[in-house]
């Protein structure tokens, strides 16, 4: 067991002058809540983009800080008819559907129904 001795200068400070930890804990809690809120905003924002039909293949959000606004960067989107792309988004084309094949008739073993 190690026993620490306080410095002599501090030895004159009475226990009553020590800061109260309550407010600090409150500040830390509020900061944590702000961070959680920012993360949640980023997640919900990305989700709403998909819900609006802008089906991005990759949607990235910058890591939010307590005092900076959340910025969404939509990199790739595929648009449905009538939709417009977000600013600075790269629009990708859906794969072309397979060509329509109309079968004229069939060769088969004789006697098939």
């Amino acid at each position: 067991m190690t026993e620490r001795t306080r410095p002599a200068a501090r030895a004159t400070v009475t226990p009553k002058s020590r800061p109260d930890p309550g407010p600090l804990r409150l500040v830390a809690g509020v900061t944590g809540l702000a961070a959680l809120s920012a993360i949640a905003t980023a997640v919900i924002g990305g989700g709403s983009a998909a819900a609006n039909g802008v089906g991005g293949q990759a949607v990235a959000a910058e890591a939010p800080g307590p005092s900076t606004p959340v910025q969404h960067v939509t990199r790739y989107v595929q648009l449905k008819p009538g939709q417009t792309a977000p600013p600075q988004a790269t629009v990708t084309q859906q794969p072309a559907p397979p060509p329509r094949v109309v079968v004229v008739t069939t060769t088969h073993q004789s006697g098939l129904p």
Binding site: R100, V101, V102, V103, V104, T105, T106, T107, H108, Q109, S110, G111, L112, P113
Partner: protein, 330 residues
């Protein structure tokens, strides 16, 4: 025999694009009827560069009906299932030499050529063996001599067949493709035409979009084995197989394709053969020969005849194709 009601029932199958939206994916007019023991259809295509007019469609439908009537008349002469046919009269005649009409003469001419092309595997003298396979007569130990056993003579008063007593002909293996080609010639006035003789097809396709033709699998299911994409040109497409016409005699599996080397139902490893060639009659006899020959010999035979393509389904389910086939697949 087709009836007037059959012919009157013009039918545009759901697979055929109607004229209003026909981007030349298919023919413009289709008439069909029950014939040759199955379904026969006449498809006619109008000028691919112009929208079809109603008058043209009406005329094409009438022409398709006329072609169907001609096919029915030829079938009436060549079927062994009709006692009054030219073929049945020939088979029933006890004389060694029998006068025959021009239609029977022409198809016997083709039968001889088909036998040569298939190394003897397409043989029209196997009626006794066929009936034995059906359990209708006793199996004979006599092996076929093929076309060496009979000859055609042409004279100023017509043609005649000479053959030993008791030799009877069966044109089932050569008639459909031959008739389809003959009927296709009747549609020369149309840019495109298809004669579908119960699955054996004679095809003439004018320029425009490629047309697609499905190949049914051995089970005849709704999913095709393959789809062939044919650009403008003249083709024959035919399929032979043993999984539809099949029955049991004395506990043994039998079918209608007789191997002339054994006189019995062919028992090689091919269950179904489809051939794409320059004509329906060639496709038909080569498909039958492929099935009788077995896969290894069949692929050699088909390559020797330079067919456009061929698909073989073996009894263990493998799908074999000649190298050129891939370029025709959709």
């Amino acid at each position: 025999m087709i009836s007037a009601a059959d012919v009157a029932q013009d039918h545009v199958p759901s697979l055929t694009v109607p004229p209003a939206t026909n981007g030349r994916d298919g023919p413009d007019v289709t008439v069909e009827a029950q014939l040759m023991g199955g379904r026969v259809a006449i498809h006619l295509g109008l000028d691919p560069a112009a929208a079809p007019r109603s008058g043209d469609v009406v005329r094409a439908r009438a022409d398709a009906r006329a072609i169907l009537h001609r096919l029915e008349a030829w079938t009436r002469r060549l079927s062994r299932h009709r006692t009054e046919s030219d073929l049945s009269r020939l088979n029933a005649d006890p004389n060694a030499e029998v006068a025959i009409g021009p239609t029977l003469t022409a198809i016997l001419d083709w039968s001889r050529a088909a036998e040569t092309r298939t190394d003897g595997l397409a043989d029209v003298t196997l009626l006794e063996a066929r009936l034995a396979a059906e359990g209708l007569v006793e199996a004979s130990s006599r092996r076929s001599s093929g076309s060496r056993a009979w000859s055609l003579r042409r004279g100023p008063r017509g043609a005649s067949v000479q053959r030993p007593a008791g030799l009877r002909f069966d044109l089932d293996g050569v008639a459909k493709g031959w008739l389809a080609d003959r009927a296709l010639a009747l549609a020369e006035g149309y840019p495109s035409a298809i004669i579908d003789a119960d699955g054996d097809l004679a095809i003439r396709h004018a320029s425009g979009r490629p047309w697609h033709f499905a190949v049914d699998g051995p089970d005849g299911g709704s999913t095709p084995l393959a789809v062939l994409r044919l650009p403008a040109g003249r083709y024959g497409l035919a399929t032979s197989g043993t999984s539809v016409h099949r029955w049991q005699v004395a506990g043994q599996a039998r079918h209608h394709l007789i191997d002339p080397r054994t006189g019995r139902s062919a028992d090689r490893d091919v269950m179904q053969a489809t051939v794409l060639a320059v004509s329906a009659r060639q496709a038909e006899v080569l498909a039958k020969a492929a099935l009788i020959a077995g896969s290894a010999a069949a692929l050699r035979l088909l390559e020797r005849h330079d067919v456009y393509g061929a698909l073989l389904v073996t009894i263990d389910g493998a799908l074999l194709a000649t190298p050129g086939t891939l370029s025709w697949l959709a």
